[in-house]
């Protein structure tokens, strides 16, 4: 190529120039710039040609048969790890599309763009089915559970709910917001109960969302049509449920909100820039809670017992409110008899945004491929199967649980929308002090610590890892401050305390472990951001909080190094793990060591040795799913497809409950596709197995049926 020509060139000595790259060795071979001649001669030299080829020029033939070589749609990895970043997925899909159609002459129709369904042997185009047909499908399409189309789903994002009369531009012109820098998009101003933080706008439309009912449906005038689930939730909304969130939300029953006087402006927080003029909405008083308290009085219900402050509660609920919120809470405390005027916008108005958000993807697939009869056997729990009684209440009542489950289901957009009214989880009405009548003497955050973590982590799955980091840093700051208070002999919130030394130690333990949890999330987030240096640092600091996890964390750091390609560093960490586990011993330690050695061999491209070590683990722990799966993967790279399949199938059959994991299924279906043209049948039988074992959080994409 270029390198030969380089000999005659005389590059200017001082100016930077761009030396052409040539592959190592064989430099001489490459400089012939002949274009490929795929016509007649070269290909015609092969003998049996006539059997299947007619006389059309080979170039055309080539184009006709041209296909992207390989395989494979979205992985469980994609959908699990990176799903938040849909933009990324899209990016990936794009070049693939280019490669697929780009080089073909515009007129040439591509032979088969049909999906994998063909069972006929020897179909000329069928290998294509293996390839981009399924692979190119963007993730959004792949969520079959949604009745709403993408366009529909995008709708609620763009059109402000009817209840919100505020045109976007007036907000900007009238208020001249002290722009916090992150671009204001019209979408942001959609909800009347918009929280306080600068919520980053959702980058992608929620994938599986019916048009969102406006909040007024839930909290304002009695709406005509409530669907089942929202009715169900509303039934809590009017009772105890709301006590954990917001009094204003809970009082739609009185036809009009209690007229609230008292312009106690000293506690009034600055309206946030993104807020519309609807801030004029009536503010809220904690008064209506008196009757709720009465309901609980004397009951031995856990919710009632939760009303009295215990040392446990103090320890767990401790939190340090932000400046503005602290002001409001102080005011509430000072003016015992309610009547603190609080900007409604500063309060939390959570609401259910979706009924039946997610459907049952497994069932949908069963209907499609296995028929109605088989599908009828499929049962999953949904809202209507939970009794609207206190028994049911306990299962579903807390927002945290609902939100956590949404995240677990991978419904990140939905979770975000439902999180939105909670703002930055620092509104005054999220603290017990705000309800002196309901929780006399009780202080601290009603938001569970885990919910703060979830709230922060969610953003990274939506493609805003920086926002995640920001939120985690805020949580970390509070944790550190509380720890510092405790270590100085103060109470969690910095006040003087009469805590026993044991109580203080317990509290320190709790907050240290919480700090560790935050560091863990930060490390995970940095890993997702591919900032490996910082991620490794963060994992190191996690070790100081969870020393018992040192072998696993060091191994994890080693795997990060392997992922980057830094084999030497990986080896160093794995050696450290061996030193640590030598002291502790135990089966788990041995397995970790063997696993690391296997990974190291993988990094050295030695699949045979890696396989040997994975198999060694299986000798010690035959039920080890990871070793089993990884050994099978190694077999494939060694050219033993059938053996690999046998191993995976045997493993899944042995204990489907345990082994029917997305990653295993993904590997299995990939190999089925590689193995024969009948992968469809095999995948369908997997679907049947999945249907009987997995809940609706199952990621159907790993079956690659769609």
């Amino acid at each position: 190529m270029e390198d030969a020509r380089g000999g005659e060139e005389t590059p200017a000595p001082q100016a930077p120039h761009l030396p052409p790259l040539a592959p190592a060795e064989e430099q001489g071979l490459l400089f012939q710039e002949e274009t490929i001649d795929l016509g007649g001669d070269e290909f015609g030299s092969e003998e049996n040609e006539s059997a299947s080829e007619d006389s059309t020029p080979l170039v055309d033939k080539l184009n006709e048969h041209m296909m992207e070589s390989v395989l494979i749609s979205d992985s469980p990895n994609n959908s699990e790890g990176d799903v938040g970043d849909l933009g990324q997925v899209r990016e990936e899909a794009e070049p693939r599309g280019e490669g697929d159609s780009g080089p073909e002459p515009a007129g040439t129709p591509s032979p088969t763009s049909e999906a994998d369904g063909d069972c006929a042997p020897g179909d000329a185009g069928e290998d294509e089915a293996v390839a981009p047909g399924s692979g190119g499908a963007p993730r959004q399409d792949a969520a079959p559970e949604t009745p709403g189309s993408e366009a529909e789903a995008a709708h609620p994002e763009q059109t402000p709910p009817a209840a919100d009369p505020v045109p976007v531009c007036t907000i900007f012109s009238q208020r001249a917001p002290p722009a916090p820098g992150d671009g204001f998009e019209p979408q942001m101003v959609k909800s009347p109960s918009f929280g306080g933080t600068s919520e980053a706008p959702a980058r992608t439309p929620p994938q599986a969302v019916q048009p969102s009912p406006s909040l007024s449906t839930f909290f304002g005038d009695a709406a005509a049509s409530h669907s089942l689930a929202s009715d169900f939730f509303d039934s809590f909304t009017t009772s105890a449920f709301v006590s954990v969130s917001n009094p204003s939300a809970g009082s739609p029953t009185p036809a009009s909100p209690p007229p609230l006087a008292v312009p106690g402006t000293e506690g009034r927080p600055e309206p946030v820039a993104t807020r519309g003029p609807q801030a004029a909405a009536p503010p809220v008083s904690p008064e209506p809670f008196a009757h709720i308290q009465a309901v609980f009085a004397g009951s031995d219900d856990p919710f009632a017992t939760a009303l009295s402050m215990s040392e446990m509660d103090r320890r767990n609920d401790a939190w340090l409110p932000g400046e503005a919120t602290r002001g409001v809470l102080r005011a509430v405390a000072a003016q015992q008899r309610g009547a603190v005027f609080v900007d409604k916008e500063k309060l939390t108005m959570p609401g259910l945004r979706f009924d039946n958000i997610q459907g049952d993807a497994v069932k949908d697939l069963m209907l499609r491929f296995l028929g109605e009869k088989a599908a009828a056997k499929r049962q999953v729990l949904n809202a209507s199967s939970v009794e609207p009684s206190f028994v049911g209440l306990k299962q579903l009542i807390l927002w945290f649980v609902r939100l956590a489950l949404l995240v677990k289901l991978g419904l990140f957009q939905n979770a975000e929308m439902e999180f939105e009214p909670f703002g930055n989880l620092d509104q005054p009405d999220l603290y017990y002090e705000y309800y002196p009548h309901v929780y006399p003497g009780r202080r601290g955050s009603m938001v569970p610590f885990s919910m703060r973590i979830l709230h922060a982590e969610l953003q990274q799955y939506l493609g805003n890892p920086q926002e995640s980091l920001d939120r985690l840093h805020r949580v970390k700051t509070v944790c550190s401050k509380i720890l510092a208070n405790l270590e100085q002999g103060l109470a969690e919130d910095g006040g003087t305390s009469s805590v026993t030394p044991e109580g203080r130690q317990a509290s320190i333990r709790l907050w240290r472990s919480r700090l560790g949890r935050v560091m863990y999330s930060m490390a995970n987030c940095l890993l997702l951001m591919k900032d490996y240096v910082l991620a490794v640092e963060a994992y190191h600091s996690v070790i100081t909080y969870y020393p018992e996890q040192q072998p696993q964390l060091l191994s994890g750091i080693g795997r990060i190094a392997l992922q980057i390609g830094d084999i030497k560093t990986a080896e160093k960490y794995f050696q450290d793990v061996e030193k640590v586990t030598q002291k502790s011993g135990g089966l788990q330690g041995k397995i970790t060591v063997l696993m690391n050695r296997a990974f190291l061999y993988l990094g050295q491209n030695n699949f045979a040795e890696a396989h040997r070590f994975f198999t060694e683990i299986l000798r010690m722990d035959p039920a080890n799913a990871v070793a089993n799966n990884n050994a099978a993967v190694c077999l494939l790279y060694l050219g033993k497809l059938k053996d690999s399949l046998r191993q995976l199938e045997a493993m899944v059959q042995q204990d489907p409950r345990h082994y029917l994991h997305e990653s295993v299924l993904f590997n299995l279906t990939t190999m089925y596709e590689l193995e024969s043209s009948r992968s469809m049948q095999k995948k369908q039988s997997l679907l049947e197995a999945v249907a009987s074992k997995e809940g609706d959080s199952f990621n159907t994409q790993c079956l690659k049926l769609a």
Binding site: A24, G122, Y520
Partner: protein, 418 residues
């Protein structure tokens, strides 16, 4: 399901899958504390999930390997590996199966099959497997051509081919820059510094395992990309051993001409070949790539026919006090003996002492003479030594030497450390 009926029913099916390294499964941890409503439920779920790390379930990066999810990108210098599977989909035994995998590039066609021998027979539901490897040495379109021929039970000879096309992309952008160091003051001569900027133009992080300069025959090279710390050689890049997409890193090398080339100053002249960069990188789970640049070339600084270099000069001198410098004058021409006259012109600050326009005598080709000169500066500060003129009386050609060196001129009140 059949939409496009096949032109011809084949008993065998050919499947191809690119084998990039597997990836590690990452899970999404959702945890709660025991006091929370779900109690231990979420944590239990995570413990039961086989893809989490036992005992450290919150650690996102698991140990479960998953097969490659798409074709991905392939870059020059990487190894293309692919699984080729021929499966007997029929219910009859097929004979004399020959599977051939060729890679067609823009310049050549390579046979990648491990063996070219025919397989005698393939029973129903059996496979012929092959894993091919090829180090990619060309940019642009590559076509993997897989041809399968076999004989049916009825004795019919069958044949089909499939084409798999992929693009090979450029992984790195390399820019270089040379600096000439005229450090005749020390014992070293004619050092050349090479700055090489290497940019990762792929979409994934890249671990630079080796970036070395292989010098040409005339040079010795010293790599200046590590520092000695407590007796240990530490990379100047520290823990940032990898390059994120679009990141650029700069490497520095010092080249010294070998003795035999250095002494005859005339040899390294004009365009010279410096050497080439050898780059080895790794990506996911040790996927390896290697490239070399073509020979890097440099224009040696032109010294003309007569070279004047400094042998000795003080770094700090007193204001208005004479000081001495030693110059070396070399006849760089190949065969011409020169007759030189030295003129010394004062500048604003530099004043030469002694006679200007004196004859230096005959200077033979490739020989040199040393000359002691005295001068003083009338201005404080960093002053440039300029104003020497050599005239070749034979050709009537004058060579000008300005900014030969710099000295720091200080007031004589300050004691000059010698």
């Amino acid at each position: 399901m059949e939409v496009n009926p096949p032109k011809q029913e084949h008993l065998l099916a050919l499947k191809v899958m690119r084998l990039t390294k597997p990836t590690l499964f990452t899970n999404i941890p959702v945890t709660c504390e025991e006091k929370d409503l779900p109690g231990d439920l979420f944590n239990q779920l995570m413990r039961d999930d086989p893809s989490t790390v036992n005992g450290a379930e919150v650690l996102m990066l698991g140990e479960m390997l998953t097969l490659p999810q798409n074709f991905g990108n392939i870059f020059l210098g990487e190894t293309f590996s692919s699984y080729i599977s021929v499966h007997n989909d029929s219910n009859q035994v097929v004979k004399d199966i020959l599977v051939k995998a060729d890679l067609q590039t823009s310049s050549q066609r390579l046979n990648l099959s491990a063996s070219n021998a025919a397989v005698a027979e393939l029973k129903p539901d059996c496979c012929i497997d092959d894993v091919i490897h090829h180090e990619v040495k060309e940019i642009g379109t590559h076509i993997l051509v897989c041809a399968v021929s076999y004989t049916t039970q009825a004795g019919e000879k069958m044949y089909f081919r499939k084409f798999f096309k992929f693009q090979v992309l450029k992984p790195l952008d390399v820019k270089t820059k040379f600096y000439n160091a005229e450090s005749d003051l020390s014992s070293v001569t004619d050092e050349v510094f090479l700055e090489a900027q290497i940019q990762n133009i792929t979409t994934s992080p890249m671990f630079m395992e080796k970036v070395s300069l292989e010098p040409s025959i005339m040079y010795n090279v010293t790599e200046l990309n590590s520092v000695s710390q407590a007796g240990e050689c530490v990379s100047t890049f520290r823990s940032r051993a990898y390059l994120q997409p679009m990141d650029t890193r700069q490497y520095l090398y010092c080249l010294k001409p070998k003795k035999e080339f250095a002494e005859k100053a005339g040899i390294i002249k004009g365009v010279t070949v410096i050497g080439k960069l050898d780059i080895v990188w790794k990506t996911n789970l040790g996927e390896r790539g290697r490239l070399q640049t073509s020979q890097l070339q440099r224009m040696a600084p032109g010294y003309g026919d007569v070279r004047l270099s400094l042998e000795a000069i003080p770094d700090t001198v007193n204001l208005e006090e004479p000081f001495h410098i030693t110059c070396k004058i070399t006849n760089c021409s190949s065969e011409r003996t020169m007759d030189l006259v030295l003129e010394m012109c004062n500048t604003n600050s530099i004043h030469w002492c002694g006679i200007s326009g004196r004859q230096l005598g005959k200077l033979h080709p490739s020989s040199s003479l040393c000359l002691a000169l005295t001068l003083l500066s009338s201005v404080q500060g960093l002053q440039s030594v300029s104003g020497l003129r050599l005239t070749d009386t034979f050709l009537k050609r004058t060579y000008e030497y300005d900014d030969i060196a710099q000295v720091c001129v200080v007031s004589s009140a300050i004691k000059v450390e010698s």
